[in-house]
């Protein structure tokens, strides 16, 4: 092959490269992009995972149970509870409900935490929306 022949083929290659037809963008692309962008800016959907629901239910039941105990317990049972609490938590004899209050407060905080977790925005939708 002589040099002029090689140049000729290279010129043909260059010409083909410069005249490569552009693939036209699909008509639906614009609407797909708009959908994708809208999905990003839309407020996230309400999410209530079953595990958090179960934990919240358990804590709420416990809290209600403790409240009901403290309010509606007969005097004899209350004395027994005082003794039990004194035994377990070594609190002063005249303040047996202190420990129960601490536990109750802890559960209340936990309930609030899960309530906030549930009510706050959940997971984002995927960035790209498929057809």
């Amino acid at each position: 092959m002589n040099p002029s022949e090689a140049d000729r083929w290279m010129t043909a290659v260059e010409d083909a490269l410069r005249t490569m037809p552009e693939a036209p963008a699909p008509a639906a692309l614009r609407s797909r992009v708009m959908r994708g962008v809208r999905a990003l800016s839309a407020p996230p959907k309400f999410v209530f995972p079953w595990l958090e629901a179960a934990i919240s239910l358990m804590l709420s039941t416990l809290l209600t149970g403790v409240g009901a105990l403290l309010v509606g317990l007969p005097p004899t049972e209350l004395v027994r509870l005082q003794q039990t609490l004194r035994y377990f938590f070594l609190v002063p004899a005249n303040r047996p409900f202190l420990a129960a209050s601490v536990i109750g407060l802890g559960m209340l905080v936990a309930c609030l935490f899960f309530a906030v977790r549930i009510l706050l925005p959940g997971r984002r939708a995927p960035a790209v929306v498929r057809r």
Partner: protein, 165 residues
């Protein structure tokens, strides 16, 4: 709007590299959504087009992990692309048109790495520095890659023409 103005070349680049219309459409959509998300971080000193090419190229890297490996494997030879030296006029006529169509098919059959470089260079008319920036490659690799891609096409054309005679 931004999409209307840029969709043609964004889709075209993705299509040329990935070689599949559906994947190219997905990539183009993802590129625009990413661009929209990152728009506050876009630095005005860079061209918007270059920034979009980079996003599309990175998405192509994600879809085709071997593409980055192929590009890195090109290396940097002493040879340089001499595209700008080729100022000869291409032939006209039926035979030339047939040859051109044949070459277009050959370009589509090149490896993705070459197709990416050739599309950026010849369809988008990007200078070497910009291609290097878009692909995150050294400029020497870009030049070598373009040279080899064209050499492959020239060699294929030579064989094709010899067979025709």
């Amino acid at each position: 709007m931004l999409v209307v103005e840029h969709q043609a070349y964004v889709f075209n680049l993705a299509y040329r590299v990935l070689g599949n219309e559906q994947e190219a459409e997905d990539t183009a959509q993802e590129a625009f959504v990413r661009a929209w998300q990152s728009l506050p971080r876009f630095r005005a000193q860079a061209r918007f087009g270059t920034w979009m090419y980079r996003i599309v190229t990175n998405l192509c890297y994600n879809r085709l992990p071997r593409l980055r490996r192929e590009l890195s494997a090109i290396g940097e030879d002493e040879i340089e692309d001499h595209a700008d030296l080729q100022t000869g006029k291409a032939d006209d006529g039926l035979e030339a048109a047939e040859r051109r169509a044949w070459l277009h098919r050959q370009i589509e059959e090149l490896p993705e790495a070459y197709r990416l470089l050739l599309t950026l260079r010849y369809q988008r008319n990007l200078p070497y520095e910009e291609i290097a920036s878009v692909t995150s490659l050294p400029m020497g690799t870009v030049k070598t890659g373009l040279f080899r891609a064209k050499e492959r096409l020239r060699s294929a054309l030579e064989t094709y023409e010899e067979a025709r005679l």
